[in-house]
């Protein structure tokens, strides 16, 4: 089970949500303050435009506020926010005619990913001489090339360090689907990384 799902919701979050619902604006401001950095960090994987990031994060919190009474405390407030943020980011792209690359989890795709995952060229660890920022830039570009469903699971797992159960909650899918999607996503990431940067391959 996931780290977020297993732990009881932090007292402060529960209190702040309750106080917000009873009309305390400052409590909601504190909630925003607590999670705004993580939301900006999450949304940057969906757009690199700073204005768009700010708009999407703001929209996320405004939507969260309007739905606060429906918030079920079975999951963490952060997991719940992530779900809203990802949907808001994807809606934003749709409204701007920028549909992210879609992928259907069909058997063909699974087989292709499986072939990649099983062998072929091994990927090297990032060169020690590469600056942290350089690694991030390469990874970001590779992620942007991936279908949205694969990018999202990688972001939630690798950057947000989310447990499978929380990812399942955020994405509204089963843990089994999280597992298989993550497996394919890693294979696709490796494939795309080697395609864009063959110099990082070995063997």
């Amino acid at each position: 089970m996931g780290a977020f799902a297993m732990q009881p919701m932090p007292k402060e979050d529960v209190s702040l949500v309750a106080e917000t619902l009873s009309g305390n604006q400052l409590s909601f401001q504190l909630l925003v303050e607590r999670y705004q950095d993580r939301m900006f960090g999450l949304v940057r994987h969906y757009t690199r435009n700073p204005v768009e990031i700010e708009d999407i994060v703001q929209d996320t919190f405004l939507k969260a506020f309007t739905r606060l009474s429906s918030f079920q405390q079975q999951s963490s407030f952060y997991t719940w926010l992530c779900r809203i943020a990802i949907n808001t980011a994807l809606d934003f792209h749709k409204r701007h005619g920028r549909n992210p690359v879609q992928a259907v989890e069909d058997p063909e795709l699974a087989l292709a990913a499986d072939r990649v995952g099983r062998g072929g060229t091994q990927v090297q660890a990032p060169d020690a001489r590469l600056e942290r920022a350089e690694i991030q830039k390469i990874t970001q570009l590779v992620l942007e090339e991936l279908p949205e469903i694969f990018r999202t699971v990688l972001v939630l797992r690798e950057f947000e360090d989310m447990a499978y159960q929380d990812m399942a909650d955020v994405l509204g899918i089963s843990i089994g689907t999280v597992e298989s999607r993550l497996f394919r996503a890693r294979a696709r990431f490796k494939d795309k990384l080697l395609q864009l940067h063959p110099e990082f391959g070995e063997g």
Binding site: Q25, V32, D37, I56, Q124, T139, E158, F159, A163, F189
Partner: protein, 170 residues
Amino acid sequence: MEFTCQDALPLVPSYLDGELTEVRAGMLRKHLLDCSSCRNSAQDVKVLSRWFVAPERLEFAPPAGFSARVARRAFAGDVGNGPELEMAKPAESGRLLQFVLTATAIAAAVMLVSAIALRDQRLPGAGRLDAATPPAPVQVILDRLKELNRLENHDQATSRPAGEAAPRKN
């Protein structure tokens, strides 16, 4: 029961993510000890994860006063859709988009009117279903048939040789 490579390989990432139950993790560990191919795959996943490094500091941090502004807007009844508001701002690309949308709307309206006009010309309306001359009533047709029969009988009578009996009338 022991794992085969086919069983083990899909579980490797979950194992490294710490998501396997202790029983399954134990079985996989045992397989990895015996199988160099799966061990290499596990190593590959480990290496791949080193590409995902969190930034030391946020590239795009929230601006000062962000939380206060969002809270104020929320309590003022703003329900979101900030990006849509952003689109409504006058901008070069926005004006171009507006022009394209307007032109498309006008073209669609013209096509709709033309289609309706053409349909009116080709399909008969309710008023056009009337024939030029109204159909004759049944009685008139029967009278006309009787007249034709009478004329025919008359023609046959006049052309029949003398002494031949006239055919019986039905």
